[in-house]
């Protein structure tokens, strides 16, 4: 922000090299600071889950993921039924698939499954 404002005379074309130059200087400065700092203390053992306030946040987060999957499946099935007119079957099958998607969301959010990438 500051770097751009101090050189108002430069055009837009000159901004990209100056941006990368700035980031290079920042990286070098960061490396120097890290080198002069004492080594970080070893991290304490695994966090206990007994009275952690962020456990509540985790619970909210995971439940929201699961509920959202089911809701999205139900919504999709309901819309398909409304548009195509296929009785309750779209809603039923999409709700079941929504449960699957909710479980998938849950596993991804908790880190038990690999994130949504095709890897190719």
């Amino acid at each position: 922000m500051n770097g751009n404002d101090t050189q108002p005379a430069r055009g837009n074309a000159a901004e990209a090299p100056s941006g990368s130059d700035l980031s290079r200087r920042l990286e070098r400065l960061g490396a120097e600071i890290d080198a002069s700092r004492p080594a970080a203390e070893p991290s304490p053992g695994p966090a206990s889950f007994t009275s952690d306030p962020s456990a509540l946040g985790l619970a909210f987060r995971l439940s929201a993921e699961f509920v959202a999957g089911v809701l999205a499946g139900g919504l999709l099935g309901w819309v398909i039924d409304r548009v195509v007119g296929t009785g309750p079957w779209g809603l039923i099958s999409c709700l079941i698939l929504g449960f699957c998607a909710g479980m998938l969301n849950l596993l991804r959010a908790s880190g038990a499954a690999k994130p949504a990438r095709s890897g190719g």
Partner: protein, 241 residues
């Protein structure tokens, strides 16, 4: 005892044009953000003062979150992500003042923000990558006979993203404010209950502890909203990598 959900009532302030208390707090929040940022950057110096240092910390925090998730390419979305973060954070914190209205405890607001994010992801993904963006729904290394199911499940999972994004923020704010109001109501109810009035400081202590927790939740949810926005934007920038 007042109803714990009365605080979420939307009242029109100016009849005719639909300007409600929700609108008032949104305008106030935006004014607070813009005013604060303008004040913090009014005389920029190399060695920042207090306000400028605060603004720079916020900027670097969001920029760091964004580049961690999306790489340097993602910085083109910085204005969007920073605006979302500041909007959610400010309105969460403003809502913690007693008697103030919490805009983010209404799912229509949080869903509109989430729809904005997912709309950006979809539009940018298709503009940038064309049909290659649909590769997001086809994981590699899946047997062919399983592929239709997986694709449908992935599509539903994608549709569920704005829902979970909005639901999480909305549910956290709603639950926290209801819990605060309920414990506050207990204080009043116990205070008027004769001998039991000696117990009334207990829910008061609980309300104080909950207020501290709510400050944590307000910041944490704004952060979570930002992180997930960055992760979704990363899918638009690099589908299938």
């Amino acid at each position: 005892m007042a109803s714990p959900i009365e605080q979420f009532t939307i009242k029109p302030l100016i009849p005719g044009i639909g300007f409600t208390n929700s609108s008032l707090f949104m305008v106030g929040g935006v004014a607070l953000i813009v005013g604060g940022m303008l004040y913090a950057t009014r005389n920029r110096s190399l060695v920042p003062g207090r306000a400028q240092a605060g603004a720079e910390i916020l900027h670097d925090f969001v920029a760091g979150t964004l580049t961690d998730a999306t790489g340097r390419e993602g910085m083109k979305f910085f204005p969007l992500v920073f605006s979302l973060f500041m909007f959610v954070l400010t309105l969460n914190l403003v809502g913690l003042f007693p008697g103030f209205f919490t805009v983010t405890s209404h799912i229509v607001i949080t869903f509109a923000l989430a729809a904005l994010v997912i709309g950006t992801v979809v539009v940018y993904g298709f503009v940038r990558h064309g049909t290659h963006f649909l590769g997001l729904f086809v994981p590699s290394g899946v047997p062919v006979w399983l592929l239709p199911f997986i694709v449908v499940i992935e599509v539903i999972s994608f549709v569920s993203r704005p829902i979970s994004l909005s639901l999480r923020l909305f549910a956290n704010m709603l639950a926290g404010h209801i819990a605060l109001k309920v414990f506050g109501g207990f204080v009043v109810a116990l205070g008027g209950a004769g001998v039991l009035a000696v117990l009334s400081p207990l829910p008061l202590l609980m309300a104080i502890a909950l207020t501290a927790l709510e400050f944590l939740v307000a910041g944490l949810q704004a952060y979570v909203f930002t992180v997930l926005t960055c992760i979704y934007l990363n899918d638009a920038l690099h589908p299938g990598h």
